[in-house]
Symmetry: C2
Subunit: 155 residues, 2 copies
DNA sequence: GTATGACCTCAAGTAACCTTGAGGTCAACA
DNA sequence: TGTTGACCTCAAGGTTACTTGAGGTCATAC
């Protein structure tokens, strides 16, 4: 908060850039995952004279958000959309981050509400032990239970 | 509630059993998915004289719970554990369903709390626009961000 | 001077969760 | 009689999100 020029701060000096190993260590994402994210266009890097990736510091935040998205079950493809307003080539401004973060909050809220609905349904339908299956939303496939393609499903 | 011997009720007469197509239509799960769940031991069926699967009505509930698990991101493998106390070969009793449903509620609550935590972090860290990365839980890989194996990740 | 470590590319493998396809049986309907 | 529809099996394919492996380049440490 106060020492915003600390070790962790965003500076623009070239030697402040991070190697892929450093980004990996700081974000917890595997080196291979970082290369994969770059392939998808979710993150970006420059190359040094040895053709090795160099990441500006602000990319750490972006990687962190990719990890968060993964945790809450947002497909990486959808992430591009979520990142639409956040520039890749320069440190995003306050405004840009805030605008993007509103979108993230919305997604989180949606997820939470889905879960809350399921909790309520589970309480009402199975928790009560009533064996009637007529009024049960859980057993009513009309809403969202039907499959919609191949591959693993998420929240 | 009152007409608990309705069309949807659990009865044990043999001709009340359902074909795979009927189970699919009623649960929203694809026929192929049902066969797959059976392979995993999550559901079970008997065969008629033509070697076709016949499902007792109480299996509908089980299929529905598999779908719910899918929705909230519980790996199907973990489901066996969640189903441990619910018998496959006969209609589960009130008590058995209730015991199982408590486990389900716990899982749902965990998911919801994870999301609520993330919401709070997002509000505090990125929403505020402070660019310091020292105190930010989102950017701190120590807790759960680090990868733990191959394959798609879930909540 | 060589060995180690960090990086590179590209291709193939893996895991979860299914779907699709090929080839076949059976009953009912026209 | 034949053809349609629902079911069967088994094998292979597809999607997401990566990891692993093979084969290679540098720079630094010993």
């Amino acid at each position: 908060m106060t020492d915003y020029r600390s070790n962790d701060d965003v500076r623009a000096t070239p030697d402040d850039w991070l190697s892929i190993g450093e980004v990996s260590a700081r974000t917890g994402a595997a080196v291979s995952a970082l290369r994969f994210y770059e392939e998808l266009g979710l993150i970006a890097s420059e190359r040094d004279d040895r053709n090795q990736r160099r990441y500006p510091r602000h990319m750490l935040r972006r990687v962190a958000l990719v990890s968060v998205a993964k945790r809450i079950g947002i497909p990486l493809q959808d992430l591009r959309e979520a990142f639409a307003d956040v520039p890749l080539d320069r440190p995003p401004s306050h405004q840009e981050w805030q605008r993007a973060s509103r979108g993230w909050k919305r997604r989180l809220e949606e997820r939470r509400q889905t879960i809350e609905r399921l909790e309520a349904e589970l309480t009402g339908c199975i928790g009560c032990g009533c064996l009637s299956m007529k009024a049960c939303a859980l057993l009513n496939p009309g809403d969202a239970l039907a499959g919609d393609g191949a591959g693993p499903r998420r929240l």
